[in-house]
């Protein structure tokens, strides 16, 4: 964690990862911090913590782009007074319940299947594919002007029984304007 902490903080800085020459902050280092930070703005229904109420599980499905970074970020830290645990799944068939599920680019074609697999469970799905939200995904990470930004599908999250903080919603690239105009998405 000590090595990771600057990264977390860096993620909050204004430094864009692509242009950075001196301090190399990679795209996925930032995205790892995002995964971690999303946990802070999402409320899971109590049923999601029936088996283990002290742990928030972050699942990575498919190729792992983060390496050990994500593990370093979440180690020895708590969100909503819960420890974080990273689980990796090779294919959708391996899937078990996780609170946050990162769907790697390699699994984009099997989204339908994945959806089926987790339907009914309160899992926040995060992806990167361009049609991730249209196909039922909840948060899509995008690169925009050399910065990592995200889009949110509040309907999908709501269907899954998740409540995403409005503070997060208004940061979403696809919702910003709507929220700025005063209309509450839902």
């Amino acid at each position: 964690m000590k090595r990771i902490l600057p990264l977390v903080l860096l993620a909050l800085s204004n430094v864009s990862f692509a242009q950075s020459g001196t301090s190399v902050v990679t795209e996925y280092e930032i995205k790892a911090a995002f995964l971690y930070n999303f946990a802070k703005f999402v409320d899971w229904p109590t049923s999601a913590f029936q088996t283990d109420s002290t742990t928030i599980i972050i699942g990575i499905l498919g190729d792992d782009p983060f390496g050990s970074i994500l593990d370093e970020i979440v180690a020895d830290t708590k969100v909503q007074n819960k420890r974080l645990q990273v689980k990796r799944f090779k294919q959708p068939g391996d899937l078990t319940f996780c609170h946050i599920l990162y769907v790697s680019k390699s699994e984009t074609k099997r989204l339908q299947w994945i959806q089926r697999k987790i339907s009914g469970a309160s899992t926040l799905t995060i992806g990167e594919s361009s049609d991730f939200l249209e196909r039922g995904g909840m948060i899509r990470l995008v690169n925009k002007r050399n910065k990592v930004r995200f889009e949110i599908n509040p309907m999908a999250a709501s269907k899954a029984g998740l409540r995403i903080s409005s503070r997060l919603l208004k940061l979403a690239e696809n919702l910003k304007n709507t929220l700025a105009n005063g209309r509450v998405p839902q």
Partner: protein
């Protein structure tokens, strides 16, 4: 207790109430406002804090996901808060993340911030820092700067409110006080007004009404009670005062009565004292021992001693030594036998050592027990009587001596014939060288002297028995001087009046008298003396020294003066006695008959004689011989010189001769004259018979010339008048001249002069006379 100070109580009360109200109000509202302001500031801080927290919460996600635009949007929400000058959000590493600038300028925003909650309040702004925490983790900081404009406007608002509330409160308090203070001041004012009324009108029946049951009510009761007491006392006082007044009036009346009595007594005493002092006689009151205890003013005048000089001294101090026995005997009789002695005649010695003859009448003053208290001595001045007595005695003496001498002389004259004639015959028959011839010569000389003395004696004896004729004294004097052949041997100063009155008398007698005086004078002086002989006309009115009275009229006066040894005063009254001489009785000296002869001659001529002698300086004998005026001669002279007239003239003179002479003269001049003998008669006469001119004698019995003129001028203010007087100008004459008298002539009057003055006065215009 005046109205002014009462109203000041009102003012004081108002002031006190107002002060209390304002102070209370100020304190209360001050406290409220201070508290409010404090709360306001706290609220402001809290508001800011809350705001910061909201911003923090709202920007936590933006920070987390590095979205400054969103953070900025959050901050932009502060636009609604006008008092926020600036706000910003710092990242966790202290760098600036988002910034907002509010309206207005001067916002100071730190470049970076590393975190920590803090706030700083200055006079015009509040700076607040607040950490942004997300899920227990600090993710950044919020900074908000707020100005205190609102606070200040709030302050102003409060001040305004306080001012208006205070004004309203003061006004309300004042109005309330004005009404409510009467509750306290009205009874006091009533009380004061009553007190003032009582003290001004002194009416103690006034009462003040009680208005309340408090201390003032008690005061009112006490005051009323006090008034009641005063009223009672006042009544008592008035009663006593009335009584006292009546008594005082009684006392005053008594005092007046006593004053009157005392005044009457004093007047009576003054009258008596006046009588005592102005009595014509000397009054001396003695105690029984002869000590003087009182002495009147007349006594002072007669004796020259003042009251203080003689009081408490013995009577014997005043009595001449020769008469001590007489007085002592009289006092002894009074003291020892209680007898009142008959009057005694004694000599008193005045302060200037002159002798005053008095007759003393004694009377005794005793008290109720008939014990002698004092002796009253009335001393009547009888000096004049004594002098007259002496003069009379001397005259008798002279007359007797003269008569005897005359008879003897007559006989002697017959017997002296042979003694005077024969020595010549005897000598003729004797050889001249015989010693007996000398004896015969001496016999002849003695016989001649005897003949001379005999002649004097004959003059004495022949008094009154000679023919009279008009005599001119000047002629007599010249003849005496020639006969005595002295003019070459002595210095003689003659001063003879040319118009000397003619004397009716015997020229032989007068020649002898003048000869005697001249011889006496020459003998008194010796060779170097100066003999002065003078004659003048004079009008006598007042007595001469040595004479009780004189017949007023015109006199020729003769003065013979020497500057010889003078006559000692002690023999002055003896010099006219026959055979009295200061010359030793040797063959060359006098017989002692010279002045006796002079005296006799003067008396025979009804004239007067005085001696004025100063030892060592000389002696003057003055003879006054009555004049006889030859009217015919004089009037003729006058008529030649002065013109007359026909006016009426009143002659006022108590001297018959004067009246007659003047009226005759004026009648001859053609005037119509009338004569009266006194001023009173003149006034009466002029009242009924207006006169052109009044000729007034100044000195008359009754009113004098001046008073006569004054009275005449009361009804005849332009009366012309001429004054005559034997005296020179006097104060009375001046007064008469001021009244309007035209001229003053001193007697004896020359007819020429009189005629001229009368004409001049009549010719003056009447207007000139009126002053």
């Amino acid at each position: 207790m005046k109205h002014g100070s009462m109203s000041s109580i009102k003012h004081k009360l108002t002031l006190i109430i107002m002060t209390i109200s304002i102070t209370t109000l100020c304190l209360a509202s001050g406290a409220i406002i201070l508290n409010d302001l404090k709360n306001f500031r706290q609220d402001l801080s809290q508001d800011l804090d809350t705001l910061a927290a909201i911003i923090g919460t709202n920007s936590a996600a933006a920070l987390t996901f590095d979205d400054p635009r969103d953070a900025h949007r959050v901050l932009t929400g502060l636009t609604a808060k006008k008092h926020i000058r600036a706000a910003c959000i710092f990242r966790g590493d202290g760098t600036l993340f988002a910034r907002y600038d509010g309206p207005g300028k001067g916002a100071e925003i730190p470049e970076s911030y590393l975190g920590g909650n803090a706030h700083a309040i200055t006079s015009n702004r509040i700076d607040l820092f607040r950490d942004i925490v997300l899920d227990g983790q600090k993710v950044g900081s919020v900074f908000i700067q707020s100005d205190l404009g609102e606070f200040h406007s709030k302050l102003k608002q409060y001040a305004l409110i306080l001012a208006s509330v205070l004004s309203l409160a003061v006004l309300a308090a004042f109005l309330l006080t004005a009404r409510l203070q009467k509750v306290i001041t009205q009874p006091i004012l009533d009380l004061a007004r009553t007190a003032r009324q009582v003290s001004e009108e002194r009416d103690y029946s006034i009462r003040t009404s009680k208005q309340s049951e408090d201390e003032i009510g008690f005061l009112t009761d006490s005051f009323n009670r006090m008034l009641t007491q005063i009223q009672e006392r006042d009544t008592a006082l008035q009663t006593a005062h009335g009584k006292l007044g009546r008594q005082a009036a009684k006392l005053r009346k008594e005092l007046r009565r006593r004053n009157r009595v005392e005044m009457a007594l004093r007047e009576s005493e003054n009258r008596l004292r006046d009588l005592f002092d102005n009595a014509p006689d000397t009054y001396i009151i003695l105690d029984p021992e002869g000590t003087i205890i009182n002495f009147n003013r007349r006594g002072s005048q007669v004796l020259g001693y003042s009251f203080a000089d003689v009081v408490n001294t013995s009577i014997f101090k005043l009595v001449a030594d020769e008469d001590h026995d007489k007085v002592a005997r009289a006092l002894l009789r009074i003291r020892d036998f209680g007898e009142v002695p008959r009057s005694i005649e004694v000599r008193l010695i005045a302060k200037d050592r002159n002798t005053v003859w008095v007759s003393k009448e004694f009377s005794l003053l005793t008290n109720e027990e008939h014990i002698l208290q004092s002796v009253r001595v009335i001393c009547r001045d009888i000096t004049d009587r004594k002098k007259l007595q002496e003069a009379l005695e001397r005259a008798r003496r002279l007359e007797a001596a003269g008569r005897i001498a005359g008879q003897i002389a007559h006989d002697f004259n017959n017997l002296l014939g042979p003694l005077a004639a024969y020595p010549k015959l005897i000598r003729d028959d004797l050889p001249p060288d015989l010693p007996v011839v000398e004896m015969v010569d001496e016999m002849e000389s003695a016989a001649t002297k005897i003949a001379e003395i005999n002649q004097q004696l004959l003059s004495l004896g022949r008094r009154g028995h000679y023919q009279t004729e008009p005599v001119d004294l000047n002629t007599v004097i010249e003849s005496v001087l020639v006969a005595q052949k002295i003019q070459k041997k002595f210095n003689i100063e003659k001063n003879l009046a040319e118009d000397l009155f003619v004397i009716e008398g015997g020229s032989a007698q007068l020649t002898r008298a003048i000869t005697n005086l001249v011889v006496n004078a020459l003998e008194a002086m010796g060779k170097n003396g100066i003999l002065k002989i003078a004659t003048t006309n004079i009008y006598l009115e007042n007595p001469l020294p040595g004479y009780a009275k004189v017949v007023p009229g015109e006199y020729g006066r003769l003065d013979i003066s020497d500057n010889g040894c003078g006559i000692p005063p002690n023999i002055l009254d003896k010099i006219f006695d026959p055979f009295f001489t200061t010359k030793r009785m040797d063959r060359m000296r006098g017989s002692g008959l010279g002045l006796s002869v002079v005296h006799g001659v003067v008396e025979d001529h009804k004239g007067y004689m005085t001696v004025d002698s100063e030892p060592g300086a000389g002696t003057t004998f003055s003879l006054f011989l009555p004049a006889t005026r030859d009217l015919q001669v004089e009037v003729n002279d006058v008529l030649e010189e002065v013109s007359g007239g026909t006016e009426t003239i009143l002659i006022v003179d108590d001297d018959g001769v004067q009246r007659r002479v003047a009226s005759q003269l004026l009648n001859r001049l053609g005037y119509r004259t009338h004569c009266v003998t006194s001023g009173e008669q003149a006034v009466d006469y002029v009242k009924n018979h207006p006169q052109h001119l009044v000729i007034l004698d100044m000195v008359m019995e009754g009113i004098d010339g001046t008073e006569t003129l004054k009275q005449i001028m009361r009804f005849a203010p332009s009366q012309k008048a001429i004054l005559l007087s034997g005296f020179a100008m006097s104060k009375r004459v001046e007064e008469a001249m001021e009244l309007g008298a035209g001229a003053f002539l001193s007697k004896p009057v020359s007819y020429t002069q009189l005629a001229r003055v009368v004409r001049e006065e009549l010719d003056l215009p009447a207007m000139e006379v009126i002053r």
